[in-house]
């Protein structure tokens, strides 16, 4: 009945972050950061096994590292949330001692920026499964743009392309689709308020 008034209010409130938004992004970031710290150990442990098949390792494991961006973006739905979520997660994993050290922050920024661009492309209006997949995939692009020159400067073009493809596919599936499923679960359980259609 008062749809217009409500919509006006919502757009007005959208410009500024409330403490609720800040704490939500921080919580998603911190929880994912703890997950990343554990994942770093797992990654280290499986590295020797996959040395000959590195693209496969990336395909199976790399996507987890980008999940904070799409998840924070889908949960909070404010400009900047995806980038902030991934950077916070990267910082936490770094502060819990990560083998990537300060570089975790730069990886996080590159990946979070990818997710942020995906949400921006849809004007922060659509947050469905397609957008989630795109946010994940673009995070993977961020990962490729950051990792390849830094850690694989000397490898063949074909190998680099295989790595990039694995990063993007894994990020879309684990990071994007995974974030979508988690967000849906949180809304269903009542931990997050349902979104007005």
């Amino acid at each position: 009945m008062n749809g217009t008034a409500n919509n006006d209010r919502r757009t007005a409130a959208r410009r500024t972050w409330s403490l609720l938004d800040t704490v939500t992004v921080a919580t998603v970031g911190v929880a994912c950061g703890v997950l990343f710290a554990g994942w770093n150990l797992l990654w280290g442990a499986v590295s020797p096994l996959f040395a000959a098949l590195l693209p496969l390792q990336y395909l199976l494991f790399a996507g987890t590292w980008v999940i904070a961006g799409p998840l924070a973006g889908l949960v909070v739905r404010r400009p900047g949330a995806a980038l902030a979520g991934e950077v916070v997660a990267a910082s936490v994993s770094f502060l819990l001692a990560s083998q990537w050290s300060v570089d975790a922050l730069f990886s996080g920024a590159a990946q979070g920026l990818g997710a942020e661009l995906a949400l921006l492309a849809f004007g922060y209006r659509r947050f469905g499964v397609g957008v989630a997949l795109l946010a994940g995939a673009l995070s993977g692009v961020g990962m490729a743009l950051h990792d390849l020159p830094l850690y694989f400067a000397g490898v063949d073009a074909a190998f680099a392309q295989a790595l990039a493809a694995a990063m993007i596919a894994s990020s879309a599936l684990v990071g994007g689709l995974g974030a979508h499923l988690i967000e849906r679960g949180l809304r269903r359980s009542g931990a997050l308020p349902p979104v007005a259609a």
């Binding site: 403490l19 919580t27 150990l41 590295s47 020797p48 083998q99 300060v102 400067a153 308020p193």
Partner: protein, 700 residues
């Protein structure tokens, strides 16, 4: 200035809800400046919602639609709703809110820092902070030594006193209290009552029975359905039965001999539980009843003493925080096969039958408490451990809980129930006062007190060897900003240097030296090395297989060492609070965002402890792996977000601005230690440069 409160036809509908959760159409009231309003209603009636409206949180911090009329001291809170991202700053300045327990309501882990936050936000002078905190602790009835403790380590009652301290510390002109007496022992409750009645602020106190406030002249607002007054069993003051007598030859199903846990500092306890007998555990606020229950149920491992329990016992625990048992999925999913009919009968008795298939996140606190009891009782346990099962319930429902507990005991179960509730009275009950009556060991095999494991001793020794005491003392005081800056510096240097073993190694070595001097934590380092070694091996191998030259591949590996070395400098020791203080003081980091980040990061240890406790409680009923545990932990974290955001908001973190920065309890400075660290790094840089020049000269 003390505000007056005007309220009329107030209606609140949270975003996404189908119906209002607070509907006060037809209610119009006025609380004069300095007056007292008592809000009475049963659990779930909307008392907490009304207090949140008065705090200015509805429609601002918490999304939804607020209508009607609500002004506090001339500030229109309905107009603010939907317009502002949080309560109006003018309103926050004089606000004190005491949220309902027993979940911790703190923003920062240590009580002292948490209590200082409202003062810092309101720009109290540093010299005035300690006296204000001590005075407020006295008025809340909290012992001063507890200020140094973490709020999460306090007992349920002490947490309420801690919340009262924070609400009172900045001298509020509007004081809101949500069930402040539930979960406090009689003495502590009387003290807090006297304090609240003596306050000069305008006060609004929500309780389930207006009699609790003890001021017959106070204005009373009753909300929700009127509670039926059933006076069950007024507690009779008979002398206590002597424990361990009159059991005939019945054998105890559970016997504890001087059990204690290092994780929570409370006195060791001894007791025995007998089939069919309810044991009511009483004791002052903070005496460690909840810890004792966790030890008895076996969800907290006993580091000392012995816990003898008959095998084949079905033990169930209804914890103080019902969320630990319920998790994110509906209560029905926590039931084992065949328990559904019993659960439905229990749920009907407790008025929660319609909530069995609803996610607990959508239920009120009181409803979740009853659902947890349903789940625990439905298993027909042979040992039932329940923590404050009637807290926050009205008389009628408290009576029902007492009846169900009686039935459970009549069926032969041994009950251990911790309670402060003078209404709770069970048939054939035995009252046990902790720690007075649990201190003596029950007659049983000699107790054992375990010494620290040899492994722990070895770790300590190696720790001493690895980080020498003197440089550690000297350098451990370095400002976290210095460490952060140096880590970035070494990272940039590594990035700019060529990817060769020599160049990257030259960076890694001096950084490792600095890290060692600044006090490396052995375990963290080993953990890092365990992740690093295979990662380096994998990276080198992958580069080689990908077609890189041997030199490039080894250089890529060495760069990883250089990166990680920088991480060591920054992190040991890692002090988030000091880092935040330094960032606010020297980098002008925005107060609200920094505190939000800090408060969230500070929940990591609590989050891990809670995940362990959650797993232990769930293992009582399910021995198999529980894939939902991780999901439930994350769900609980997200569900805790509004409480943390509210805690930050009512402490006033949004009050400071760029031109009016907050004052600080802990000054952040730079000293000798920082100079030494920078000098050591400069020396390392010199080595790197010399190395590079030597390379350039020798290369041709």
């Amino acid at each position: 200035m003390t505000p007056e409160v005007r309220l009329a036809d107030l209606v609140w509908q949270p975003a996404g809800a189908d119906a209002p959760t607070l509907d006060l159409r037809g209610v119009r009231l006025h609380v004069p400046a300095g007056g007292l309003l008592v809000v009475e209603g049963r659990s779930g009636a909307g008392k907490t919602t009304l207090l949140r409206a008065l705090a200015g949180l509805l429609g601002t911090l918490l999304p939804g639609d607020l209508r009607g009329e609500l002004t506090v001291g001339g500030v229109d809170l309905v107009a603010a709703a939907g317009r502002l991202p949080g309560p109006p700053v003018d309103h926050l300045a004089g606000l004190g809110l005491l949220p309902a327990g027993p979940a911790p309501a703190n923003a920062l882990p240590r009580l002292l820092d948490d209590a200082a936050l409202p003062l810092e936000a309101r720009r109290f002078r540093r010299a005035a902070m300690a006296p204000a905190i001590l005075a407020a602790a006295g008025r809340a009835g909290l012992a001063t030594p507890l200020l140094e403790r973490g709020v999460g380590d306090l007992s349920g009652g002490e947490r309420i006193q801690a919340a009262a301290l924070v609400a009172l510390v900045a001298g509020p002109s509007l004081l809101l209290a949500d069930e402040p007496f539930a979960g406090l022992d009689a003495g502590a409750a009387a003290h807090l009552r006297a304090t609240l009645l003596a306050e000069r602020a305008t006060r609004i106190i929500a309780v389930h029975d207006a009699g609790e406030v003890g001021d017959p002249s106070a204005q009373v607002l009753r909300i929700g359905a009127p509670a039926t007054r059933v006076r069950v069993a007024v507690r009779d003051r008979r002398p206590r039965e002597l424990p361990a007598h009159g059991h005939g030859d019945a054998r105890p199903v559970l016997q504890a001999i001087r059990i204690a846990s290092r994780a929570r500092p409370v006195s060791a306890a001894s007791f025995a539980l007998f089939p069919g007998e309810p044991t009511l555990l009483e004791g002052a606020t903070g005496s460690g009843k909840s810890t004792l229950l966790a030890l008895a149920a076996g969800v907290l491992p006993a580091d000392e003493g012995e816990r003898l329990v008959d095998p084949h016992q079905r033990i169930r625990l209804a914890p103080q925080d019902p969320g630990l048992l319920l998790g994110a999925r509906p209560a029905a999913e926590r039931l084992a096969r065949g328990e559904r009919p019993a659960a439905e009968r229990l749920a009907r008795a407790l008025d929660v039958a319609h909530l069995l298939d609803v996610p607990p996140g959508r239920c009120s606190d009181g409803e979740r408490r009853r659902l947890a009891l349903v789940v625990a009782l439905a298993a027909s346990p042979t040992i039932l451990v329940a923590d404050e099962p009637t807290a926050g319930l009205d008389d009628e429902r408290a009576a029902t809980v007492a009846r169900l507990l009686d039935e459970c005991a009549a069926a032969g179960a041994a009950l251990l129930v911790a309670t402060h509730d003078p209404r709770l009275y069970l048939q054939r009950e035995r009252r046990l006062l902790h720690p007075a009556e649990t201190a003596a060991p029950a007659a049983a095999p000699g107790s054992t007190v375990r010494l620290p494991a040899p492994a722990a001793v070895a770790v300590d020794a190696a720790q001493q060897l690895l980080s020498p005491a003197l440089p550690r003392r000297l350098l451990g005081t370095a400002n976290p900003l210095t460490r952060a800056g140096l880590a970035l510096f070494w990272f940039a240097l590594s990035l700019l240097s060529p990817t060769t073993l020599v160049a990257q190694g030259a960076i890694a070595l001096p950084v490792l030296l600095v890290a060692w001097l600044s006090g490396v934590e052995l375990l963290a380092t080993l953990r890092l090395a365990a992740a690093l070694a295979p990662a380096i091996a994998g990276l080198v191998l992958a580069n080689l297989l990908g077609g890189a030259s041997g030199e490039e591949a080894v250089g890529a590996g060495a760069r990883l060492v250089a990166f990680a070395a920088g991480s060591l400098v920054l992190l040991r020791p890692f002090e988030p609070l000091r880092l935040a203080d330094a960032a606010i003081e020297w980098l002008r980091a925005p107060f609200a965002a920094t505190m939000a980040l800090l408060a969230t990061a500070a929940t990591i240890p609590a989050m891990r402890a809670e995940a362990r406790e959650r797993r232990a409680i769930r293992r009582l009923s399910r021995s198999a792996a529980d894939p939902l545990l991780f999901v439930d932990t994350f769900d609980a974290l997200v569900r805790a977000v509004p409480a943390l955001a509210i805690a930050l908001e009512i402490r006033g973190v949004r009050i400071p601005t760029r031109t009016a920065p907050p004052t600080r309890l802990r000054p952040s400075g730079f000293g000798r230690a920082d100079a030494l660290l920078v000098a050591a790094s400069a020396g390392g840089l010199l080595v790197s440069v010399v190395r590079a020049i030597a390379d350039a000269i020798l290369a041709p």
